[in-house]
Symmetry: C2
Subunit: 265 residues, 2 copies
């Protein structure tokens, strides 16, 4: 059995392209249709109902474009909208929270920290998923709202980034966490600063674990690698995103398109 | 002549309520209908076409609720969408850029700095409006993207705020600016830190100048002050905004409503 249709991936912005990059290394014969909801980002500061509404509109768009698989490459949308997406989707759905929880448990450490957006942390999704897998672990979760704008400003290793990281992360030292889940696709950009602030703590990037969750559910394509296509759609003006999107993706984009998502209700 | 209908005011978030507060002091007999587009904020990082589209949807909403006057209490929307709004509006429209330019020129200083969001600064609106009024002035404008998330995090006077202000504002010292326009409704929250970074520089809050622009165009209401109403609508979940909105407004809100703006196209 094979299926030539693309894998659909969405994020509130273009950070989720790092997930596509990881998927591409693992599944080089697949084509990808990525949707970045750049006109309505960020999701991480918004309410559960708004995040769910936007996520369902994104899913409708991807399904109308006939994707064979859905990857929710946004921690906030995964934390708040996955059940609603699974209810409407006729194709398999994978988010980033459960793979991240798998990866956290797989470290073998007993004291786990989680960082994410306000909405992700308020949802308790990581804490719940880790507890389901390993009820004995200690899990402490904290929101780091300024990490996203810092990453977008490119201030990832300067004094402001270090002082911000110190304020947000110092409590994890008191908690003696051994591993820290980077629960937002922007945070890996701050990895160096986070590692300096919490020396000796294992950093867990949930995108690493997504491929393992996708593989058993995927009906693969059978084309040659060079025939696979990378199509990126954004809801805000497209051109300013090409350079940053190609940097995140690690290869040229075959098609960059500005789309309007009208399913706001 | 009198007109009992409310004055309609919108902003991307609730920061624009500081403008309502100023208007309220000046026009205590007026009722206000404020719309904060909190589900789609921020506008300042988005493209001109998206900001215009969202602004027109907000205007349609306010006009359907029968406002007698429109105040665009968002610098980004004023910079990018005012001509489009004026084309569709049957009622008078006032933005914050032109009053801010008036106020900057009124300082009498020769070297003016302007700070704002990326979208506001990229539009060149303040520079253009100041030059129209006083072609001889030197105007330097710079975007300060992290000031909005810092204000929202409440980090307005800590080390991170000071170091961020130093990075963004130090170039204005080299330019020897004498007055600085705070071209975003969030920035007055950082006034203390900005003043410490640029000692001796006059800070210009464009909201101060809005009342003067509204007065000659307004058909006033004739009710008693205690009969005026403050109705606030937000597009993201309402409850979490009540406390912060009442703080910005400086009085209780008579009615807080969660609305969905469907005019996304």
């Amino acid at each position: 059995m094979s299926d030539p249709r693309p894998i659909g991936v969405f994020d509130s912005g273009v950070g989720g392209l790092t997930v596509v990059r990881r998927l591409r290394e693992e599944f080089p014969r697949e084509s990808f249709l990525f949707l970045g909801d750049t006109a309505r980002l960020p999701y991480g500061t918004k309410s559960p109902e708004t995040v769910e509404r936007y996520s369902l509109a994104n899913v409708r768009f991807l399904l109308e474009r006939d994707v064979k698989f859905l990857v929710v490459a946004c921690n906030t949308a995964s934390a708040l909208a996955l059940p609603a997406i699974e209810r409407v989707s006729p194709v398999p759905v994978v988010g980033v929270i459960e793979p991240g929880a798998d990866a956290a448990v797989a470290t073998g450490f007993q004291r786990i920290g989680v960082i994410g957006t306000e909405a992700t942390i308020a949802s308790g999704a990581y804490t719940r998923e880790i507890a389901r897998r390993a009820p004995g672990l200690s899990v402490v979760a904290r929101a780091c709202p300024l990490f996203v704008p810092l990453a977008e400003e490119g201030w990832v290793e300067n004094g402001v980034a270090r002082e911000t990281a110190e304020i947000y992360l110092a409590p994890f030292r008191d908690d003696r966490v051994e591993a820290l889940v980077l629960g937002c696709t922007h945070y890996p950009l701050l990895k160096t600063t986070i590692a300096m602030t919490l020396p000796g703590v294992r950093l867990v990037d949930s995108a690493d674990a997504v491929c393992a969750a996708v593989r058993p559910l995927l009906t693969p394509a059978r084309r040659n690698e060079e025939e696979s296509e990378y199509h990126v759609c954004v809801t805000d003006a497209a051109d300013r995103f090409r350079a940053v999107a190609e940097r995140f993706l690690g290869r040229p984009i075959d098609r960059l398109e500005h789309v309007e998502i009208t399913g706001d209700l």
